[in-house]
């Protein structure tokens, strides 16, 4: 699983790089086309279609970059997970994080907290102040609707032993 994710990420990085080159070229081309006549040139069907295609490519790159960021977050967390049980727990955890709408920082902090790391250690690993980690953790608890680390763990364990995997926010 881990191997697959890192392969995907590498390919995705290449893909984004190549598509960015193409997008830069097409955008430059569109700008050169528009320059002589101003925005009025966009009424020319050919130029308008060209501009639309270039913008579509740019939005695809934005989407891919966001997807890459998600993939790298997962990869960062899955590195030490080898057993199937750990993998399943991880899936549940990430699905919940998605559903709660955690930011990338909160996501990372929550994971370290669930692994049982003390706040000082989390701060060291993330290169941030302990106060920052505390407020990020509080945001996680608030979004999850629990009062602390134990509650957070409880929600996730419940899911693991009780029923089907949550579907919300799953994408891979």
């Amino acid at each position: 699983m881990n191997g697959r994710i890192s392969d995907n990420a590498g390919i995705l990085v290449m893909l984004i790089a190549v598509q960015s080159l193409c997008a830069a070229f097409f955008l430059w081309d569109v700008i050169e086309d528009i320059r002589p006549g101003g925005m009025a040139s966009l009424t020319n069907l050919h130029i308008a279609v060209e501009a639309a295609a270039a913008l579509a490519l740019v939005s695809a790159i934005v989407f891919e970059t966001r997807y890459l960021m998600r993939l790298m977050q997962r990869k960062a967390h899955l590195e030490s997970q080898v057993s199937i049980a750990a993998g399943a727990f991880h899936e549940i955890m990430l699905a919940h994080f998605d559903a709660w709408g955690l930011t990338p920082s909160e996501n990372d902090v929550a994971l370290f907290a669930i692994k049982g790391l003390p706040i000082a250690e989390i701060a060291r690993l993330r290169g941030s102040a302990e106060g920052t980690v505390k407020s990020q953790l509080n945001a996680v608890y608030r979004k999850a609707g629990v009062s602390g680390r134990g509650g957070l763990l409880g929600v996730l364990i419940d899911e693991l032993v009780a029923g089907p995997l949550v579907e919300a926010g799953r994408e891979t």
Partner: protein, 179 residues
């Protein structure tokens, strides 16, 4: 704040001379003038010295110390994705890729520029086209470079532009240093 000496004087003088030389030729000098040619040769000479310095210079200037493998590149992207504050004392992996790109582009611009002055290639269309496209490519790269420096400075809390002037990186207490 902790301070680390990272860029030696040659690296800094090289960086800002390259900025001056490229900006002069891209925006100010007459393309047909002797001055344009001489600045072009000066830029080529600068890049040649930088390549030499990359072999014999101090640690942070040496290519062997900063040309990144895929693992290092993915590591930096992971830091960005997880919002972890980790910084590199020398060039960061993605920054190093930009350096390679810019050095190669400068060489290609210089070579195509020189070709235009030779009898064999004088007035040949593709050489001139290539020269101009490479300059556009370099301009796009410079914009990306500046945007990335601003963005990385904000992300890691280390003022990278200042470091390229003073030679010293000032790191916030909390930030981790990537080996």
């Amino acid at each position: 704040m902790k301070e680390f000496k990272v860029w030696d004087p040659f690296v800094r003088v090289f960086h800002w001379s390259l900025v001056a030389g490229f900006a002069a030729n891209a925006f100010f000098t007459d393309d047909e003038s002797a001055l344009h040619e001489w600045i072009g040769y000066a830029v080529l000479a600068l890049v040649a010295l930088r390549l030499l310095w990359g072999l014999i210079g101090p640690a942070t200037a040496r290519f062997a110390s900063f040309l990144p493998g895929p693992h290092a590149v993915m590591g930096q992207i992971t830091d960005i994705a997880t919002h972890r504050h980790r910084t590199h004392l020398g060039h960061s992996p993605l920054g190093a890729l930009m350096i390679v790109n810019l050095l190669a582009t400068m060489i290609a611009i210089g070579v195509t520029g020189y070709m235009m002055t030779t009898n064999a290639f004088w007035g040949v269309d593709w050489v001139e086209e290539a020269h101009e496209m490479l300059v556009t490519w370099a301009e796009v790269s410079v914009v990306v470079h500046i945007a990335a420096v601003v963005w990385e400075s904000r992300r890691t809390g280390v003022n990278l532009a200042r470091a390229m002037i003073t030679g010293r990186k000032r790191l916030p207490e909390d930030v981790n240093i990537a080996s």
